[in-house]
């Protein structure tokens, strides 16, 4: 056995030596990639990386520590790539020498999930749900909610608003949307990764998408914002929201794609769709990004592996998105990504 192992080891060394000498393409197979960042796309990314690893032999280790943590790691140079739901700000970009390539890799929708006995369909007009999150509407049978939901029996129950206790990309996108459609919300709370929610006794905060989902499920009369995928996987009902065109739209792949179609990426490949136009667009949709170093001094094998990974994510990866509750990227965004990824590694 020992001898067997030894000879196997020797063989590996010999092959490695041969590769170094001849410099074959097979080099990529011994490359490991590390990344960290957003937790929102983690279920999708982990499915990608598992399949990708089996197909190519390139191991991708991704730590879903949150967008903020990912950007921090990326700035300190301890990862090969990072992921963030809020992309990177000009200020953060300036800290990276050599520049950054940002690629939208997938997209998601934020739904308003609720817990109301016997109410399977709930419509929330765009002047109403910001008021719920401002603590101005506190009862489910409030006249403004009732007006939009004729025929639905709404209980005389306090609305328990569940918000995020941690800093997050989901917070960033949701509060920016609310600020865009309500000037009241913009001035009182504003948009950001952490925001000062009203200190009312019907507001509770829970950590993470899972935390909010669990709290909603356990609390009769609760409403909260979570990623569409989480609501779908846990069978939590979510409200139809009124979009810019005045239609009530339910979150889903088509409504999400329609929202993304209106997005125009800037030169950094960033676009925040705070209030998408279009008859069928779901109002709260967002891209999520991966970030790579532009720097030319990177290991060529690593750059090659990164490009393979992106290529995989943009092709095979997109077909998995729908099943896991994400929106496949529109064709034009995929094309932009493919062009931009050539800039990685100079």
């Amino acid at each position: 056995m020992k001898i067997g192992n030894f000879s196997k080891g020797a063989k590996v060394v010999a092959i490695a030596a041969a590769m170094v000498v001849t410099g074959t393409v097979a080099q990529a197979q011994s490359v490991n990639l590390t990344g960290s960042g957003a937790s929102f796309p983690f279920p999708l990314y982990s499915a990608w990386f598992k399949d990708f690893g089996q197909k190519t032999g390139i191991q991708v280790n991704y730590q879903a520590k949150g967008s903020g943590g990912g950007i921090e790691d990326f700035t300190n140079g301890v990862v090969d790539f990072a992921a963030s739901d809020a992309a990177m700000s000009e200020e953060e970009l300036a800290k990276i020498e050599g520049g950054v390539v940002m690629l939208p890799m997938t997209a998601g929708e934020i739904v308003l999930a609720y817990n109301l006995d016997g109410v399977s369909e709930l419509k929330l007009p765009r002047d109403v749900y910001p008021k719920i999150f401002l603590g101005e509407i506190t009862k489910w049978n409030d006249a403004e909610i009732a007006a939009a939901n004729e025929g639905v029996e709404l209980p005389d129950e306090t609305i328990t608003v569940v918000v995020r206790s941690d800093s997050s990309g989901t917070n960033f996108n949701f509060t920016n949307h609310l600020s865009a459609i309500s000037s009241d919300f913009e001035s009182k709370v504003g948009g950001g990764k952490t925001v000062p929610w009203p200190n009312a006794s019907n507001f509770v905060a829970a950590p993470g998408n899972q935390g909010i989902t669990a709290t909603i499920k356990q609390t009769p009369g609760a409403i909260g914002y979570i990623e569409y995928g989480y609501a779908q996987q846990t069978n939590t009902p979510y409200a139809m929201l009124e979009n810019q065109a005045g239609n009530f739209v339910k979150a889903g792949p088509e409504a999400g794609s329609a929202a993304l179609a209106s997005a125009e990426l800037d030169e950094n490949n960033v676009a925040f769709i705070v209030d998408p136009a279009g008859d069928d667009s779901y109002p709260i949709a967002t891209f999520t990004w991966m970030m790579f170093y532009k720097d030319a001094g990177q290991d060529a094998a690593k750059v090659d592996a990164l490009k393979q990974m992106i290529e995989y994510g943009l092709t095979t990866g997109q077909t998995m998105a729908d099943k896991l509750g994400y929106i496949p990227l529109p064709e034009n965004v995929v094309e932009t990504d493919k062009k931009s990824m050539e800039e990685i590694g100079g």
Binding site: S67, S165, G192, N202
Partner: protein, 323 residues
């Protein structure tokens, strides 16, 4: 057997001999090791203070004492204040002490004053101590999935009928001070029970016998003799239990609702220092690190002060029983 001492004893008839060089060396290195262990502990504490203090210093200068007296946490405008967290930490710990403390002392009396035979008492003690081994996150999950649905009707009824009392002025939505307090009480129960048991056991048998000899009933003996005699130890157990409650993180982050407000209501969501740190730190940007470190220092100081007081009381009463 009879001839063994003879064979061990040296020729001059004495059984004693000077320690060997190895024994000297062994003793010395053991001493050095214990000293080192002691100093490392102190050095570690100093290092933690110094390191966190260093990171908190800019925030301390910037926000000063206003930080401790305002209710605000806004990363966008860089305004921070932790009065709500300090209040929530102290209030939840105090309430937990009220319930967990009474329960813990009662358990200690039950287990030490001959209500049970020795074997049963041993089993009971084991079970109470096992509570201390349950991970915090398990308590948190239990709180969310079992406790909150169970207490919701009671909380609702209290709010409806006694809503004019400030403690019941809001309705319990789900997470809030009340469930957090109950879980916290259970978590400090083993600490309080274990230390007060020691206090009860330290009472000389003679004192109990004297009490019974004077014709007291069991209840009278416990109330008028045993509890006053053990009061120092009981008090110390409460202070240490309080210290344990102050630093509890995960279960509270899951149950207290993390809402920045200062209210007496038991059914309103609140927040604590430990829960603020746990939920904000992982994604905190550079601008939030300073204020968070400042909050950490405040928590460290509060917890240390409480523990030091507890230890001093315990030492003081221990001396008293000896003399």
């Amino acid at each position: 057997m009879a001839d063994t001492p003879k064979s061990v004893a040296p020729r001059d008839g004495s059984v004693s001999r000077p320690p060997t060089a190895f024994e000297y060396g062994y003793d010395k290195s053991f001493r050095a090791l214990t000293f080192a262990a002691g100093f490392v502990t102190i050095a570690l504490l100093v290092y933690i203070f110094w390191k966190i203090g260093g990171q908190a210093a800019p925030a301390m200068q910037k926000y000063g004492l206003d930080f401790l007296t305002t209710v605000k946490w806004n990363a966008n405008t860089n305004e921070y204040g932790i009065l709500a967290e300090i209040w929530g930490t102290l209030y939840s710990s105090f309430l937990a002490l009220l319930f967990g403390g009474v329960l813990g002392v009662a358990v200690a009396i039950f287990l030490t004053q001959g209500f049970l035979n020795a074997r049963l008492a041993w089993i009971f003690r084991l079970i109470v101590e096992m509570l201390a081994a349950i991970p915090s996150v398990v308590f948190g999950l239990w709180g969310i999935y079992v406790l909150i649905p169970a207490i919701r009707p009671l909380a609702h009824w209290l709010h409806e009928t006694l809503g004019f009392i400030p403690f019941f002025s809001t309705n319990l939505a789900g997470p809030g001070m009340f469930p957090a307090m109950i879980v916290l009480s259970i978590m400090i129960l083993p600490t309080v029970a274990a230390i007060s048991q020691d206090a009860f056991k330290a009472i000389p048998m003679k004192i109990q016998e004297a009490a019974y000899g004077m014709g007291t009933t069991k209840w009278e003996a416990i109330r008028k003799v045993i509890i006053p005699t053990a009061s120092g130890g009981i008090f110390a157990s409460l202070v240490l239990g309080f210290g344990r409650a102050l630093g509890e993180t995960m279960a509270l982050a899951m149950l207290i609702g993390n809402s920045q407000q200062v209210t007496l209501s038991l059914f309103a969501p609140a927040t604590t220092l430990a829960s603020l740190l746990a939920s904000t730190f992982p994604e905190a940007g550079a601008n939030q690190i300073g204020p968070l470190m400042y909050a950490a220092i405040v928590l460290l100081v509060i917890t240390m002060a409480v523990n030091i007081i507890g230890t001093i009381i315990m030492n003081y009463t221990a001396r008293q029983t000896v003399t």
